[in-house]
């Protein structure tokens, strides 16, 4: 394939880029695992295609989902993507723990190169293709409902964001089947990721996946911020917004300001690698310190992009399941805004060890500790929300409680790390790995899972199975402590992160415990899937079509479950912070309006899927130096954007009588449902109608 036209067509591709070929030629455990993972991707894709074709569902999938501009469907698709990617990245995490437990004075079963790819994909996926889609999905689904809107400000842009993220995630999946991924970690530090040290395709996969994903996230941030500013229903002043909307707003603003430095950093690295620039190389005046600054100028706000939405979820969950108004609403809003602003003032703490002066390190260390104040305030606000309430230990509430107690330990080690002299000792060790998992597992994953359990009945019209929810919860919590507490000890003893083989027998017991914890975390994920399966099977018993299974407080509970395409037949008007909760107690929230009107909604569009797929293909072409493919991809993107600008029919009308039929069907179901007290909300007696009497 090195002669004639082939180099122009196939670029850098050779048969050895295929893991199957490598495994065939050198069948060791590492290569066989690689080929196995690649087959999973191929088999999964083929299975999905055959299944949809067999069920003759292509039209349904295309017109009801892939091209939909409905914020609720886009939200669900984001979360499906997040679960797929979570599965892959969690298995990678388990593999790494197994390797380290097996590789004490022994090479283990994964080659160093394979191990390097695993920690890079694990981190990249968990941040960009699990956490970001998960929170984007929850935000998408919930926020417009909470502000009493029918959609986001830019529905098409929303679809484009989803598909850019999807295209980028597809690129990371493609790296399992064709070629190799980067070994430069999720932060892709040059000069290691420069051509001089990593000439293969790996860093290019990383660069383009992250670039596409970061553009998608910037657009999401713009979209959500504008939605919140412009699309709130009458009466919803800023200080009446649910706290989840506040955290969404702060996260969106962070995305707008924090994502571009990342896009710029990866673009500059791409210029280095493709066009011989020297931004971050050792030679010709390049300096990797610029990369470190740009990356963490994104990277630290990113932490709060990930954590703030979860804070919003906890605020909703704790208030609802304590049957009580949120304590210190203003305090919580101020704390959220303070965290958002302070998050831009601490980035240097990611590289205290780069040799800058003590004054600089001390200033950034103090700024870092300062963030602890508003964060601590939030924790106490949630505690005082439970105070004098009626706390119900549902699954979302269990996640919230586990979060508060676990997150505070992460905060503890975070303050230790904020002291530059202490950071010098544990930077780049497993202590750091333990710390950020200690922040992000409770601060992101538990939050998103709490949100998933809390709003699932709203999205699909039935409750999730309680027993399996508790099993999954227990596994996530015990698994976390088993897997990550030992890493603090190992890190304090100086065990470097990203180590494929260990030469210190004293590390053995701790690595065994951590390995066991990883297996428990795997069981946690499996339990979530079992729960979903069981819940779907018993969906008819646990239906909550009336729409209010938890005696909810915000507007999102005042419509059917699932909500109609148009969310609200009549745009609501609010007078206080808990409009639906108070409405149930002073008024009849289910009274039919005098008349219905035609409703205008955005029409489906192919633009999103075409842009995402073409963007992914262009990126794939760039990775493999298949220039013709990259050109086709880019031209398709440009042509699609131009073609879309000629589209005139971008709305569809839902006629008033159809709205009326839909609403009456729901109101009949509400009239027939039995109102239930909170004591039995976790049983099948819950039909989605709350008994407002105390």
């Amino acid at each position: 394939m090195n002669e004639g036209i082939w180099p122009a067509v196939l670029g850098r591709f050779t048969w050895h880029a295929l893991p199957f070929v490598r495994a065939w030629e050198d069948p060791n455990a590492s290569e066989i695992i690689g080929a196995g993972a690649a087959s999973m991707v191929v088999i999964g894709t083929v299975f999905l295609v055959v299944l949809i074709t067999g069920l003759r569902k292509w039209r349904y999938v295309w017109s009801e989902w892939l091209t939909s501009l409905d914020h609720k469907k886009i939200g669900i698709m984001y979360i499906v993507l997040a679960f797929v990617m979570l599965t892959r990245a969690l298995i990678e995490g388990v593999l790494m723990r197994m390797q380290q437990a097996a590789a004490i004075n022994h090479p283990g079963f994964l080659s160093p190169d394979h191990f390097g790819q695993l920690f890079s994909t694990h981190g990249t996926i968990m941040i960009f293709f699990m956490a970001m889609p998960f929170l984007a999905g929850v935000l998408n689904y919930v926020m417009p409902l909470q502000i009493g809107s029918r959609d986001v400000a830019f529905p098409l842009l929303n679809s484009v964001s989803l598909w850019l993220t999807g295209g980028a995630a597809g690129l990371v999946m493609a790296s399992l089947v064709v070629g190799k991924f980067s070994t430069g970690g999720w932060s892709g530090y040059p000069p290691y990721t420069e051509l001089a040290f990593s000439p293969d395709v790996g860093p290019d996969y990383w660069i383009w996946a992250v670039t596409l994903g970061s553009i998608g996230s910037t657009l999401t941030g713009i979209n959500f911020a504008v939605t919140i500013y412009k699309m709130r229903c009458p009466g919803m002043q800023l200080m009446r917004m649910p706290l989840f909307v506040w955290t969404t707003l702060c996260t969106s603003i962070l995305m707008i300001f924090a994502m571009p430095p990342l896009t710029v950093a990866t673009a500059m690295l791409a210029l280095d690698r493709y066009l011989g620039f020297h931004f971050f190389t050792n030679d010709l005046g390049g300096n990797m310190m610029n990369y470190a600054n740009l990356f963490w100028l994104f990277g630290h706000p990113e932490v709060y992009i990930l954590i703030l939405p979860a804070f919003g979820v906890y605020s909703e969950v704790i208030s609802t399941f304590s049957s009580k108004e949120l304590y210190g609403y203003t305090s919580l809003v101020l704390a959220t805004a303070a965290i958002a602003i302070l998050s831009f003032t601490v980035w240097v703490h990611h590289f205290f060890t780069m040799g800058q002066s003590a004054n600089l390190n001390a200033a950034f260390g103090i700024a870092t500790m300062t963030i602890g104040v508003p964060t601590g305030v939030k924790i106490y606000d949630w505690i005082w929300t439970m105070f004098r309430g009626q706390v119900r230990f549902t699954v979302p509430m269990l996640y919230s409680l586990a979060f508060m107690m676990t997150f505070v330990l992460g905060g503890f080690t975070g303050i230790l790390l904020a002291f530059p002299p202490l950071d010098y000792l544990v930077h780049n060790t497993l202590f750091l790995v333990a710390h950020f998992h200690n922040m992000l597992i409770p601060g992101l994953l538990y939050g998103m899972l709490a949100g998933y359990h809390y709003w699932f009945p709203k999205a699909f019209g039935f409750r999730l199975n309680e027993k399996w929810g508790r099993i999954a919860f227990s596994c996530w919590v015990f698994g976390f402590y088993l897997a990550f507490m030992p890493l603090y000890v190992l890190g304090a003893a100086g065990m470097a992160r990203r180590t494929q083989e260990i030469f210190e027998p004293a590390f053995r017991p701790w690595l065994y415990v951590a390995g066991l914890g990883a297996l428990v975390l795997f069981c946690a994920l499996a339990s979530l899937f079992v729960q979903l399966w069981v819940s779907i099977r018993e969906r008819n018993v646990n239906g909550v079509f009336a729409g209010d299974p938890w005696d909810g407080r915000g507007l999102e509970w005042s419509t059917s479950a699932p909500p109609p395409d148009y969310n609200y037949a009549v745009i609501p008007r609010v007078h206080n912070r808990d409009p639906f909760f108070d409405g149930k107690r002073t008024d009849d929230p289910y009274a039919a309006p005098a008349s219905y009107e035609d409703i205008e909604l955005p029409k489906n569009s192919r633009t999103g899927p075409v842009l995402g797929v073409a963007g992914g293909i262009a990126a794939f072409g760039l990775v493999w130096h298949m220039w013709w493919l990259a050109i086709i991809g880019v031209l398709t993107v440009v042509a699609t954007v131009i073609a879309r600008s000629f589209a005139r029919e971008v709305h569809r009308i839902i006629p008033a009588d159809e709205v009326e039929r839909t609403e009456q069907r729901w109101l009949r179901a509400v009239a027939e449902a039995t109102p239930i007290p909170r004591e039995i909300e976790m049983t099948s007696a819950n039909q989605g109608l709350a008994d407002p009497r105390e």
């Binding site: 160093p112 390097g116 070994t183 000069p191 290691y192 050792n282 030679d283 010709l284 990797m288 049957s323 009580k324 108004e325 304590y327 609403y329 305090s331 590289f351 040799g355 002066s357 004054n359 001390a362 103090i366 500790m369 602890g372 104040v373 305030v377 924790i379 505690i383 005082w384 439970m386 004098r388 309430g389 009626q390 230990f393 409680l401 508060m404 107690m405 505070v408 303050i415 230790l416 904020a418 002291f419 530059p420 002299p421 202490l422 950071d423 010098y424 000792l425 780049n428 060790t429 000890v489 003893a493 100086g494 470097a496 990203r498 494929q500 260990i502 030469f503 053995r508 909170r678 004591e679």
Partner: protein, 284 residues
């Protein structure tokens, strides 16, 4: 009472497990072997104690309040519209701010006294050492003695050691937990690290920044010897081993792991400066 036979065995295994678990801390800063690490450990303890009082209330209050105000407890108060108290607000905001201000003074002080660039005050003369990060090994140059070693750094007990670091390849980071914290080594740039050993021993040093498939092998034994033993080591190294000439240096630059330490009887003058300059030149 019948005691099953399995139990003592289980107990023994468990206690062995715990004991071997604690062995790991001997490698950490807890078992510090020099003034810098000792001071860092003191800082750990101070901050740790303060933080117990920060985290403790949350760890106690969260389960207590959640459980006391559970729905099924009919004896607990229920005030669904109570949502603010200036007193509580004061307790939430003021003590944390006070603690952060207090910690800031500690942080400022220790960040300056433990600045890796700050020379260690001592009556003994400072030993100059230069460390070059290579793939996947550390080249240690003694500019005054004109000798060098790979994979091993020998230092005299009680004398301050001033290390200048650079990298001949990608960025790396040198950490010796029992002696001092880490600092990056970057191509074309110099960073500095000051440390000292208070007692003889072998302390594990390593690169903590991933730099390729040989990363896990990149260890550096730091051997602290008494002054007399150190002088003997210098003399022995000068007398017996090979010189570090251009060919040997080129060999070291190639990507490889070096399981056994190597010693060089002489090094070219200004080798470190030469390596620094070379990193900035265009790669052929």
């Amino acid at each position: 009472m019948k005691i099953s036979r399995g139990r003592p065995l289980l107990f023994t295994t468990l206690s062995l497990f715990v004991l071997s678990g604690c062995a790991v801390l001997k490698l950490s800063v807890m078992n510090h072997a020099g003034p810098i690490a000792a001071s860092q450990w003191h800082l750990y303890v101070i901050v740790g104690i303060v933080l117990v009082f920060v985290a403790g209330p949350v760890l106690l209050l969260t389960p207590l309040i959640a459980w006391h105000y559970r729905l099924t407890n009919k004896h607990s108060a229920f005030r669904p519209t109570w949502n603010f108290s200036w007193t509580l607000e004061g307790f939430i905001w003021i003590p944390p701010i006070g603690i952060v201000i207090g910690l800031s003074f500690i942080l400022w002080h220790y960040t300056h006294t433990l600045d890796p660039y700050r020379p260690i005050a001592s009556n003994e003369p400072t030993l100059e050492v230069q460390a070059v990060a290579l793939d996947w090994k550390w080249l240690i140059i003694y500019p005054d003695q004109r000798i060098a070693a790979v994979g091993q750094m020998v230092i005299p007990v009680g004398r301050p050691v001033h290390i200048r670091l650079t990298s001949g390849t990608a960025m790396q980071s040198l950490l010796i937990p029992q002696l001092a914290g880490q600092i990056y080594a970057m191509g074309g740039m110099t960073t500095q690290l000051n440390l000292a050993a208070a007692r003889p021993g072998v302390y594990r040093g390593e690169n903590t920044q991933y730099n390729g498939t040989g990363f896990q092998n990149e260890k550096l034994d730091v051997i602290a010897l008494s002054a007399a033993d150190y002088d003997r080591w210098v003399a022995r190294t000068r007398a017996s081993a090979h010189p570090l000439d251009a060919a040997t240096l080129a060999e070291l630059y190639r990507k490889s792991s070096q399981p056994q330490p190597l010693f060089y009887s002489s090094v070219p003058q200004h080798l470190f400066q030469h390596i620094l300059a070379q990193a900035k030149e265009p790669r052929s």
